[in-house]
Amino acid sequence: MDRQNQENLGTNRSPTNNEERSSTQSLQGRRLFFYPFLITFIIMFGLWLVLSGHFDAFHMSLGLISCAIVSYLSSDLLFPSPRIRGLFSQWVRFVRYVPWLMVEIIKANLHVTYLVFHPRMMELIDPRIIKFRSKLKSDLALVTFANSITLTPGTITVYVSIDGDFKVHAIDKASGDPLPGEMEARMPGHSVRSNG
């Protein structure tokens, strides 16, 4: 397993990240690697506790070992850049975002269900492809946005470029119109990424 190459597989697009990575190899490297590791470890261990349901010493120690292994192997996948600033605020935004999304999803589904069971469905639907550019920058934000679009009324993300170009398939005109709209505004990571 070599760490240098691994960095590459993350999505370090900006030159800033590259510079950071070269500094990673210097003295700071170990410490910068440590935080993602630790956070991954904590998340993983929380998950383990939920999964396991056995709280005796044997299983707990197994849990520790397993979490350590996973963190060692994959913490860089979870946190491709060693910087973890702003993580917390992102999470807060995310938690606020989810309930809103839920409501949207239910609305979306009712809409689609209506279409599905409508006897003259063929006349109602009018599929089209909408293109727009999102202001979001980070991968994660883009992906969350794209998935949210997929989950919400009559739209499916067809293509996202790394620069935020979206292609969306909408089932009818009404579904496609409001994009990007409110959803983008509510996205976690929208504000955070501005410093990148």
Partner: protein
């Protein structure tokens, strides 16, 4: 051929259906299969091995010998795929393609030419396609969870369904997901082919080695009871722990083999971008 196949299939089926007449009814608790050998497994599993999941106890202890060979089957399948498909390219191709990671510009390098050592370029094949952002990111996020779940499955084989094999497959699958969401080279960079092959052998070796260790400690092959003094527990717990050790071995072997087979099949032995 179609008619022949049909005739053979129907004949076989007829013979088998004819034989079902003498079967005990489906789900009959008094059938020989349920009364002859299996009751001991059910009633004594806790007493003899301290493992509530009797499938695990039978799998890894009562019939642990089968399972050892089961793992060997997987291992040999991995070796077989390697033997059949792997191509070690000796001669340099006419030209190589390098992609600048940041801009996506592709550079053609003629035979003999060289790029300055840099992380910004990666070697690609003609087949290379841009990564899909959504898939790539989501898989990146999911992989650690899949891995943890797989480890959980291996560790809790005693109490719930699952065990080394299932966990190993999922561990392997996590790497396969990585290979699919990005490309095979990435996955191979994380887990080198040689390491993978060695892991594969190690996993099975752990299993068979545990058995042989019992042999060296004076008991029959795979009789984990003999491990008791070594692990410092009573013989019944020794069986339980023995099962656990073995499951780990199975997990490692299966994981490595799945990755091995996938890498070979998906790149037809070239270890390029793969699927």
């Amino acid at each position: 051929m179609k008619i022949t196949g049909l005739i053979i299939a129907v004949l076989t089926g007829a013979l088998l259906i004819y034989a079902t007449a003498d079967f005990p009814a489906w789900g009959d608790p008094a059938s020989p299969a349920s009364t002859h050998v299996s009751p001991r497994y059910i009633e004594k599993t806790i007493e003899e091995t301290a493992v509530p999941n009797m499938v695990t106890s039978v799998l890894a202890d009562y019939r642990g010998y089968d399972t050892m060979f089961e793992t060997t089957v997987i291992f040999s399948a991995g070796v077989a795929c390697f033997l059949l498909l792997r191509i070690f390219r000796r001669e340099e191709p006419e030209e190589r393609l390098y992609r600048h990671v940041l801009t996506g510009v592709t550079i053609h390098v003629k035979k003999g030419g060289k790029l300055p050592p840099s992380d910004d370029f990666e070697r690609i094949d003609t087949e290379w396609t841009p990564h899909d952002l959504i898939i790539k990111t989501m898989c990146r996020l999911l992989i650690p969870f899949i891995q943890l779940f797989a480890l959980y499955v291996i560790a809790h084989g005693h109490h719930s369904p699952g065990g080394g094999f299932q966990g190993g497959v999922m561990l392997g699958a996590s790497v396969i997901v990585l290979a699919m969401s990005q490309d095979l080279r990435t996955a191979v960079r994380r887990l080198r082919e040689k390491v993978d092959a060695l892991l594969c052998a190690t996993g099975v070796f752990i299993y068979a080695g545990t058995g042989a260790l019992c042999l060296l400690l004076g008991a029959d092959f795979l009789n984990y009871r003999a491990l008791a003094p070594l692990l410092n527990v009573d013989p019944i717990m020794a069986r339980s722990h023995g099962i656990f050790i073995v499951e780990i071995g199975v997990g490692i072997a299966v994981m490595a083999t799945m990755i091995w087979i996938y890498s070979n099949v998906s790149s037809s032995g070239k270890y390029d971008e793969g699927l």
